[in-house]
Symmetry: C2
Subunit: 202 residues, 2 copies
């Protein structure tokens, strides 16, 4: 099946399998989490509960230095109670264009800025319960500068080669999905297989 | 930095950046979502709110037919209000071993069973707000059988070549993270680069 055929196939499946919203109740609205409990009409006519939450979406950046090294961050992730190695990323502010989010977050978290920016693709990381999407960007040939963190924000910056990052994924130490997917995309570009990487507008 | 060095480096970072739990309050407990609002002590001594939820974890399967084709599913994902193409997956039941979850979910969702099973790795898909982990398995040489869906569960099964799946990722149509990462792992195996794929116990 070609990609165009799959797109049509998925549209038809979405109509055939549709779960129509009957009721929608806000059950928790915090500073970050916006949780809802809906009831939905299933394709067989039955009714079921659907718990989910809204997320504003996020942008993540693959920052590439002029010598090809990659900029990574260490960040403490409270839900997992430990630090992770990740590419820089952050939530999209209300009304903000994803590219602006990406450039803002890269500057705030790492100080790096400038360079040539390419929008790669959008990935969905939690489709069972959340509408979060992460828009991936690549920033090539960036320049160093000063971090601009909030007072209570802690992000440690370091650099690595693509080969190091791939070895950390192979060892099961780098496990964050946006970071793994971005690393594989960079690998494909460097191997001349950019046709296997979704690039917006290409 | 080698993988072992990174592991030690991350342990040190986890201690240095630790956010210690001061209070923890259950704010919503549904059938699926188990949402908490904590307060935590940050590395600089300040206090901050941390909203997050617990997830039991999930297992996902790359089902490989004897001829090398892959088994995929179409499933309606209510939070996104449309159908997605994914590898089969499901939540870990209480006390269930992840391999048992994977084998149960593959049988229930697709009818396929048997074959040779390999645990690949564990990925983290929502570390900003959730402790979900997805354990990836590969099942090679599986046999067809009958789906065993719940009455109100709708999963459509189809098969594709790895090349088709990679082209759908390149076109930005397959966007589910566990499916993208698994596809790239299978590609590496087939290209004789299995050393770039984390395999548990290897």
């Amino acid at each position: 099946m070609t990609a165009d055929e799959l797109r049509k196939d998925l549209d038809a499946a979405s109509a055939r399998m549709k779960e129509a919203t009957l009721t929608s109740e806000s059950v928790f609205k915090g500073k970050l989490l916006d949780v809802w409990r809906d009831t939905a009409r299933l394709p067989n006519g039955a009714t079921s509960t659907r718990e989910h939450f809204h997320h504003p979406g996020a942008a993540a950046i693959v920052p590439v230095l002029p010598d090809g090294r990659l900029v990574l961050v260490r960040q403490y992730r409270y839900p997992m109670h430990r630090a992770f190695v990740e590419f820089p990323a952050g939530k999209i502010d209300k009304g903000e264009a994803p590219l602006a989010t990406a450039q803002r977050e890269l500057l705030e978290e790492t100080g790096y800025h400038g360079g040539k920016w390419t929008e790669l693709t959008t990935i969905h990381n939690a489709i069972a319960y959340c509408d979060e999407r992460i828009i991936l960007f690549m920033a090539e040939g960036i320049e160093a500068g000063e971090q601009k963190l909030d007072e209570n924000e802690f992000v440690e910056v370091f650099t690595a080669t693509l080969e190091e990052l791939l070895s950390w994924i192979a060892a099961g130490i780098v496990t964050d999905v946006k970071t793994i997917i971005s690393a594989f995309f960079v690998e494909k570009f460097r191997e001349g297989r950019g046709d296997q990487v979704p690039v917006k507008g290409s």
